[in-house]
């Protein structure tokens, strides 16, 4: 029995160590702030630890942890919406959106980061999981707890908004006309 527990712990340790970098990066794309991203992943991993016996028996522990991560992100966002008292006007789900000037906007990454921050959470989740995590639509649907159709529409809407937002910022930053 003790040996089994030790094995479980060792497997979990390996899981955490190997998945940590990727999960933090995904969380960073979802929430836009490093410390918040680490907190998000840590909270998700705590939940995974509690259910580790079930998770390790499942075919895809990665799918499970992604689902927990997305749920945790959605939960925090919902809570944030409720916490009207603590939100300042213009807050965008914790994303760091520094004052933008032309130089900042000229930074390609900054533009994408800002455009991403303006997406609603579900669309951001769909875009990040579909294009950054490179998951299939059905895998994204599992992670987001919705249908494949919803994933398609959320990702398409997110993509369209990203295009529009980036095109707008491109013009603002004086990078030429947008066709």
């Amino acid at each position: 029995m003790g040996d089994t527990t030790a094995n479980r712990d060792e497997e979990f340790r390996e899981f955490v160590t190997t998945r940590w970098p990727r999960l933090v990066r995904t969380a960073y794309l979802l929430c836009g702030e490093q410390h918040t991203a680490e907190d998000l992943v840590q909270s998700a991993l705590v939940r995974v630890y509690v259910a580790w016996r079930r998770v390790r028996a499942a075919d895809e522990p990665d799918a499970y942890v992604r689902r927990v991560l997305v749920n945790e992100h959605a939960r925090r966002h919902r809570r944030k919406l409720k916490e009207l008292l603590t939100l300042s006007p213009g807050d965008t789900d914790g994303w760091q959106t520094p004052d933008r000037d032309r130089i900042t906007l000229a930074d390609d990454r900054e533009m994408l980061r800002h455009a991403l921050a303006q997406l609603p959470p579900r669309q951001r989740q769909a875009v990040v999981l579909r294009y950054w995590e490179d998951l299939s639509e059905s895998q994204v649907a599992v992670a987001m707890g919705c249908s494949v159709g919803t994933v398609k529409s959320q990702a398409a809407k997110g993509l369209a908004k990203l295009r529009a937002a980036l095109a707008r910022e491109d013009v603002t930053a004086g990078h030429g006309e947008v066709r």
Binding site: Y49, V50, R109, L166
Partner: protein, 314 residues
Amino acid sequence: MNRESWYAEPEYAGDPDREAGELTDRLGTIADEVTIGPAPYPDVVRAGRRRRARRRVGATALAVTAVLVAGGVGLGQFGDFGQGGTASAAAPASAPAPLDPVTTVVGKGKVDGKRWQVSVTVYGPARTKEEAHRQYDLAMRRGDAYPVLDGKWEGGYPKTLRIGVTWFSTRVTEGTGKPRLMSDWVSPKRVKGETLLGGSYQHQGAEAGPVGMAWLDPKVERVVVHWKGGTTDEPKVVPVKGTDVRWIVSERPGHGVSDDFIDLYDGAGKRTRMGPAMRLEDLKKKLPVAVKKEQLEAVTKAGRRTPVEITTVR
């Protein structure tokens, strides 16, 4: 990097694969900005064990409650605050994670055509100095804490940190103004049979605000606030998520009107009357020895109340 990108480049339009590949690359450049530290495996395991233990306790408590209800026993019968009861009417709530505070709106209303709202945010106990630093960062970012407790700093952080204690902050919004931090407090230590009353009654400047507020022992079931001038109010007793302390918020009958006395009733209807002077004295008596005298004086001079429990980091 080529600025002619997936979002504006006409030749990509209609080529979803190439478009997707471009976006993946670009997301990757952002994701690569993150500094990846070592995986916090020990922290995860420690928190996981605590969570598992809490769930077990919760399941046990649920089972006990179910037995009591099935047996036709009201929980209120066990509440005998003021007499040193042996059982609590409310099970202690599990504190939230230190970096995941929870907020409860404890009261809202309208005075002179302006809406007001009061909320309480509970922060779970930080376990280490590093965690307390991160919690402090979070609280400051959210505007939930005062910058310093004692004016001493160490490496960009207050020298006095809250470690191992649950604490909460209260915020009020008046009209269309921005939320205003009223106070941040360390949660009162549960003392059997006692009722600790605090809140803006003693808070400098709060007398002019639209409301008075107080925290209550979990055994208090009903409250009647008697305002100077003869009016009374029976505010709703609101449990705050993440703590077993309850709160009341009572609307002032007029600007600057202070409270006269407050009647607290337990589940059995037993009344305890609290007067303003008595409450202030009670607060001083309840301060643990950990709070130094000079610290108390400094905070009192500054017009702020003193947290009841402080851990100093060396």
